[in-house]
């Protein structure tokens, strides 16, 4: 699972008002190279919750991202490369996602987070 997806996912448990961002528990991280596409990054930038992305990438062991970002920074190639790497190339292979409110763990196996809820959580 890439941090792009992590940035979109929120906890869906009944009664949880703020299920975002899910905390990451890391067991294994893999890096896969992905083609660099500036248009996609510019398009996505507005939709990304930057704080959550920076925080998540730090948990995954990549601390190059600045704490805050503005759209003016998108002109810098260096920034875009870092953004690209954090967003698309870092994969959480094994570990868990933890709901920030209830502490419920969603296990991640082989890169697939298991977001299935129990019957009493729907």
């Amino acid at each position: 699972m890439r941090l792009l997806t992590h940035n979109m996912l929120s906890s869906n448990i009944k009664g949880v008002t703020n299920g975002f961002p899910l905390r990451i528990e890391v067991e294994k991280v893999v890096e896969k190279e992905v083609d660099f596409n500036v248009d996609f990054l510019r398009n996505m930038f507005a939709k990304i919750e930057w704080k959550a992305l920076a925080e998540a990438s730090r948990t995954m062991g990549y601390s190059e991202l600045p704490d805050d970002a503005e759209s003016s920074m998108l002109d810098s190639d260096e920034f875009l490369r870092k953004f690209h790497h954090a967003l698309l190339e870092l994969h959480l292979e094994e570990g868990a996602l933890v709901c920030p409110e209830t502490g419920r763990k969603f296990p991640v196996n082989k890169g697939i987070p298991n977001m299935l809820l129990h019957e009493d959580e729907v």
């Binding site: 929120s10 596409n37 248009d39 082989k110």
Partner: protein, 291 residues
């Protein structure tokens, strides 16, 4: 013909390792899935500016439909309830991210982030109650509600469905409308039982010109081109008379079907989406006697 898969077992059980294996080994299934997802992507009508979008594939299964999305350069997130199918997707090295989840529990995505959603043959599963806790109406409501929330304003969702009957289609469409979507059903090849495919084309937001439902393939009105152009003189029948044949057999030839009948049959086949030769002056024309 086996009965509908929805009636046999819940999706996470029906799509077991054996069933999932078919999605890598059967070229027929792969071909159908690819065609369906290409058409769904076409109906999604994303702006043609070469910018990759973030799409959602609901019921992504083995990632066959995601492959089509990857081929056109988009990033995607896939959701499926069957672990076996997702394992196959990993094996096929699907480019998108995969999530094990149940669409009937809601999608659990942040609001307004997805640029478009497709779903191939998945939504009709929601109409079945496979557990005592399942209530199809609540599951449909949760699904469409969360889909509406996570889509960006003006984004489209194209859901290819196999509704069991008219009531089921109404049910699905009704819940989509109640969630706030505008749009309708596009039916490709409505006259064919086999090739007929239904797509729910939903737009996030109020109805507008751009959200008008596109036309289906093989519908009435777009295939009868030059039918009435030919005169009546060619309206002969394909009858063969042979004086060496006994009289009894010759009689049968009198009831032979004429050009009109042939043209009508060809039109019927065309509407079903079959490949039919063009109508020419040779169509249903009588052969020369010395043939």
């Amino acid at each position: 013909m086996a009965s509908r898969p929805e009636l046999q077992a819940p999706p996470e059980i029906f799509y077991n390792d054996d069933e999932a294996r078919k999605y890598t080994s059967s070229s027929r299934i792969i071909d159908i899935q690819a065609k369906l997802s290409e058409r769904a992507l076409e109906l999604l009508a994303l702006p043609d500016d070469g910018v990759p979008r973030l799409l959602l594939d609901i019921g992504c299964g083995s990632g066959l439909s995601g492959e089509t999305l990857t081929d056109s350069g988009h990033q995607w997130i896939g959701l499926d309830i069957s672990q076996s199918m997702l394992d196959i997707a990993l094996e096929r090295e699907a480019e998108g991210d995969l999530i094990l989840g149940d669409m009937g529990q809601g999608l659990g995505l942040r609001p307004g982030v997805i640029d478009g959603a497709i779903s191939i043959s998945a939504v009709q599963w929601l109409c079945n109650a496979d557990k005592s806790s399942h209530e199809p109406r609540l599951r449909l409501k949760a699904f469409f509600g969360s889909l509406y929330r996570c889509l960006a304003r003006g984004a489209r969702a194209v859901l290819q469905v196999y509704p069991e009957n008219l009531a089921q289609r109404e049910l699905i469409l009704g819940f989509a409308m109640r969630a706030g979507f505008s749009g309708g059903v596009v039916v490709d090849y409505p006259h064919s039982t086999k090739k007929r495919k239904e797509y729910l084309v939903l737009t996030c937001g109020p109805p507008s010109l751009s959200s008008a439902t596109p036309k289906g393939k093989g519908e009435d009105g777009d295939s009868d081109s030059d039918e009435d152009s030919s005169g009546d003189e060619e309206n002969q029948s394909v009858s063969v008379s042979d004086r060496h044949r006994p009289r009894k057999k010759q009689k049968l030839n009198k009831k032979v079907k004429g050009r009109e009948w042939v043209l009508r049959k060809k039109e019927q086949m065309r509407r079903k989406g079959n490949a039919v030769p063009l109508d020419t002056k040779y169509t249903a024309r009588k052969r020369k006697a010395r043939f």
